[in-house]
Symmetry: C2
Subunit: 394 residues, 2 copies
């Protein structure tokens, strides 16, 4: 088992990218990561593409093979990995295993999604292909619907107010303004989001209690990393960002079958595996990129990852602890909420952003303590979660 | 790097399976492999699903997560791997890397496809999503069309007659009759396939010079293997079938960009990588499962894999060398031609069939020399090829 490190990272801006098709986005992010690594096109011997919707949204398959040709990386091995919205972290995991095994030395992992090829209900229907076909999908269950049900239960259980959700949204959109790659560049205020008896706000319900500004946008985009054996990083003159640990765990397909639907078991298990492999505990995490497809998920994941005790994340929010200048910054990139959520790209983008933080290359959104960080990529509605711990060494 | 072995194998019958959905097929093959391994449901720590059309054909994503739940394997890690028609072998490769890395011990790899949910041109259109979207697809290029062009060039170059293609079809359908898992159970004769000036045959052209009986059927089905560290096999009382080597190589997306479109470079490279890792040469191969989606491919792959010199496979066919009782049996299972081609399943099914041969468990289709075998899984039109060498040891 070899130690694996992140040699290079890159991403496209996320957003509505009408000029680019899926292969353009994957290629662009890959070239940026290759340029960052300073690796050229002869050393890469395996490529993983993370993507969920190539078939449904873009009527394309075999995109990994197309990519290696487009990047002039032939005859590198190439596969696509799909794990719903956690496809990105799953692909990175498989790249890590490929390098750890000793079979491959330099591996490109690139996640991307071209979601704006479809409009309106079709994007929601695409994501709903993750739900159980007979127990959920045919009854019209969607991911926002699941998140709404979850939010209601979680907020009741831990006395979380709509204002707490709004604090997550405000924080992440504020961070997004500092991130040139973020889809949503817009400052929002509490007054604009929460109704009072005297106000009308432009923030309609999507799935009660979640409103528009509690949900991530539908984005196009791609993100890429180059993995290699940790002992090869010095040859390239790059900082050593080690994949200290990873974890992956699954849970029931339907929410209804969980003993306690407010318990995101797979988040806890995936994070604990990652901590154990890294030889750390949750207390050692200094910065985290969490999967805030809905604001409630940032709160719930931060608690299930052990960063805060159950019910305590709201206090950290109130105190500003999770802001960029706080004691435990969460989603300094802006998260899915502001950076956007091209589903196949997200898990890779989290690792790209965290790498920039650990290298000290995050510009105006740089956090202060930056040696050990966590990413959580949340598939389905928490039925397949992948976590990474990255650590800066040297 | 740990040695990896195949502990258990299983598959569903292939064919038109109207009673079963994709998850049923994946589950059934998995349970058969788990039963064969004698492993129960507590040891498996990672699952790979190979599938190409879940999105396009079945409007489902996240099927790997659904499977671990359905099989009561929670919280095992689960990912889907897609590499077109070579998805099966790609998923096995990733399972092998997972075990070789030391991170996972017991890994289930299951490939499946539910193709008969769509009918007529939709199945061909689905497979055509592998072609280049602007250089091929929009002009109506399909995989049978590519195979027809390739067949014309290859037959001209090496003086291969329609009778040679028919010999492949007859051999594989004869083998398929001995295989209870095969989709097509029908003996065919040369007279029924090749037109003479005095005859009319019920074997119309699909893509000249390829006729109906030169093409594999559109099938439903699934196949599964359990992988583990080679030194754990004895604990289960199973024969040691080692993954002696694997290879994977890519080629240009479009046929038009290849210097010589009759040169299936990726087949040669993938096989040579596999031979090198296994410490053997092509001469050591005693039995092979090749990707005969079209009869011409069995001939061309056997030559590109080095089993015969270029232009010599037709002589082996004439002499019956590639029949079950011949000196180098090819596709004793019936191949894609008779067993069928549920695309995600095929690469796994090749390994299942070869394992049965190496164990001596292939019943009436058992070959005589059975210690070292080859599989070739052919993605796109040869733009992503995965080969395995399996060896019986002890």
């Amino acid at each position: 088992m070899r130690d694996v490190a992140i040699l290079g990272v890159g991403m496209t801006p996320f957003g509505r990218l009408d000029e680019n098709d899926l292969l353009d986005l994957l290629s662009s992010a890959s070239l940026r990561a290759m340029e960052d690594a300073g690796i050229g096109d002869t050393l890469i011997d395996a490529v993983y593409v993370a993507n969920m919707g190539g078939g449904i949204l873009n009527h394309q398959t075999g995109i990994a093979s197309a990519l290696v040709d487009n990047l002039a990386l032939l005859p590198a091995a190439a596969d696509l990995v799909e794990n719903g919205p956690a496809s990105g972290a799953s692909a990175v995991k498989n790249g890590v295993l490929a390098v750890a095994s000793g079979y491959y030395d330099f591996v490109l992992v690139v996640g991307g999604e071209k979601m704006r090829d479809v409009t309106g209900w079709r994007a929601t229907d695409f994501v709903a292909t993750l739900t159980h076909p007979y127990a959920e999908y045919i009854y019209g269950v969607s991911l926002p619907g699941m998140a709404g049900m979850f939010a209601k239960l979680y907020m009741d259980k831990y006395d979380i107010k709509p204002e707490h959700l709004a604090m997550v949204a405000m924080k992440n959109q504020e961070n997004g303004i500092l991130n040139p790659y973020a889809h949503i560049q817009m400052k929002i205020s509490m007054e604009g989001m929460i109704e009072t008896p005297d106000s009308i706000v432009n923030n309609s319900y999507v799935a009660k209690p979640l409103r528009l500004f509690d949900c991530c946008p539908v984005s196009d985009g791609a993100a890429a990393v180059i993995l290699c054996p940790a002992d090869r990083v010095k040859d390239f003159g790059k900082p050593l960002i080690k994949v200290a640990g990873f974890g992956q765990a699954t849970d029931t397909h339907t929410l209804a079958e969980r003993d306690d639907p407010t318990d995101l078991k797979a988040v806890t298990m995936a994070c604990n595996q990652a901590y154990k492999r890294a030889g750390i505990t949750a207390k050692d995490i200094q910065v985290a990129e969490l999967h805030d497809a809905f604001t409630i998920l940032e709160i719930a994941e931060s608690e299930h990852a052990g960063l805060f005790a159950k019910g305590e994340a709201k206090k950290a929010l109130e105190a500003g602890e999770t802001k960029i200048k706080g004691s435990l910054p969460i989603n300094p990139s802006g998260g899915l909420k502001a950076r956007g959520h091209p589903v196949g790209a997200t898990g890779v983008a989290q690792i790209v952003d965290l790498t920039w933080q650990l290298r000290g290359e995050a510009g105006p959104r740089q956090v202060e303590n930056h040696d050990v960080g966590l990413t959580v990529n949340f598939g389905g509605f928490g039925n397949n979660v992948v976590a990474f711990v990255l650590r800066r060494e040297s």
